[in-house]
Structures are given as structure tokens and as C-alpha cells.
């Protein structure tokens, strides 16, 4: 095997080994920035009102992946999926950028401002 081949192999290995979803899909990023989708207290994404089939499908797809991630995290039996999802939701809402949408504990959509978001009292 020559050096070029080994180098190419190394590059390929790094590419494959990197996280499968390293960055947000551009459509998802755009929908977030436009306030069409927002974070919910239960740890899942939600469409803000009626956003059409494409956005709804994207939200569904992302939530399926999130649930899979939560399920993997609680595989050792330390918590329920719902509990881990809620805790992640607390953090996700705290990490929203100003202008993005999130759902308050009362079930209404709010726009993140410069200050702290309105979160469930059990969030840290």
C-alpha cells in the first residue's frame, strides 16, 4: 500500500468516525430562526401553529431521533425516557437563541428574549 492510499484511508476513517449529525440540517436551522418550530418543555420539538406538511415531517423526524437518543441514555435503568427528555428540554429551552420560539409551562408559545426563558420550576 502506498502513502497516498493510506492517507486517503485515514481521511475516510475520520469522515466516517465523526458524529453522524454534527450540524443542524439547513432546513431545520432556517425553521428555528424563522420561529416556525420551537422547543417544548417535554424535550421535543414542536411546530408553532400550522406550518404545513414539510415542517411537520421534519419535526416528526427530529423527534424520533431525539427519542432514540433519550432511550439510549436511560438504557442502564437510571431514569425513565420521559424524565431524561424533560431534563434535556430544560437545557434546550435555556439554550434557545433570542428570537427563537419555545413553549412555556402553561402551553403557550413564547419568543426568547434577552433574559431568562420561562421554564418549569423543576428545571435547574
Amino acid at each position: 500500500m502506498n502513502r497516498t492510499f493510506i492517507a486517503a484511508l485515514a481521511v475516510a476513517a475520520v469522515t466516517v468516525a465523526s458524529p453522524a449529525l454534527a450540524q443542524r440540517d439547513p432546513a431545520y436551522a432556517a425553521a428555528r430562526a424563522a420561529g416556525q418550530v420551537g422547543e417544548k418543555p417535554d424535550g421535543y420539538l414542536g411546530a408553532v401553529g400550522n406550518q404545513g406538511a414539510a415542517i411537520e415531517a421534519m419535526v416528526r423526524d427530529i423527534n424520533i431521533k431525539r427519542k432514540a437518543a433519550y432511550t439510549r441514555q436511560v438504557a442502564d435503568g437510571g431514569a425513565t425516557i420521559e424524565q431524561f427528555a424533560f431534563t434535556t428540554g430544560c437545557n434546550l429551552i435555556a439554550q434557545t437563541d433570542p428570537g427563537e420560539k419555545y413553549m412555556t409551562p402553561s402551553g403557550t408559545w413564547a419568543t426568547r428574549g434577552a433574559g431568562a426563558p420561562t421554564r418549569d420550576g423543576r428545571c435547574l
Binding site: P19, L21, R24, F84, T88, Q95, D120
Partner: protein
């Protein structure tokens, strides 16, 4: 009111009529007043789906918070 009747009977008739009218009035009031207090209830068009009753204690949040933060860092694409 009938004529050629003794005064006592006329008075009694008047009182009877008064009584009947009062009863009618009370009956009417009894029917009308509850109606005035009626409230129209309309069900919303879309089903209400709020899943905010999440059963978790804050001590569990404390315990899971670090892992949750790590997960968000490790898989930023879905978060």
C-alpha cells in the same frame, strides 16, 4: 269580578286572584331566573393536547442534568 256577590266573597276572590297571580309570577320567575344564568359552552374545534403533566422530581433533574448537557453537545444535529 262578578257583581251581585257579597263583599266578603268579592274580597276573597280578589285575594284568590292575587294569590294565583303571585304564584304564576313566582313560577315564571322560577323558570326565567335559571335561564338568565345559563352559560353557553362550546367545545373547541381542535382537540386540546397538552402533555405538561410530566412526573419528575427536581432531585431527578439534578441527577440527570449533566448527562443531558453532554448529550446536547454530542449530538447537536438533532438539538
Amino acid at each position: 269580578m262578578k257583581r251581585n256577590q257579597p263583599v266578603e266573597m268579592l274580597t276573597a276572590q280578589r285575594q284568590g286572584a292575587k294569590c294565583r297571580n303571585m304564584k304564576r309570577g313566582l313560577f315564571c320567575a322560577a323558570v326565567v331566573i335559571p335561564l338568565a344564568g345559563c352559560v353557553t359552552v362550546q367545545a373547541p374545534e381542535k382537540p386540546i393536547e397538552i402533555n405538561l403533566n410530566i412526573n419528575i422530581k427536581q432531585e431527578v433533574v439534578y441527577r440527570l442534568d449533566g448527562e443531558a448537557k453532554n448529550l446536547i453537545k454530542q449530538e447537536p444535529g438533532i438539538f
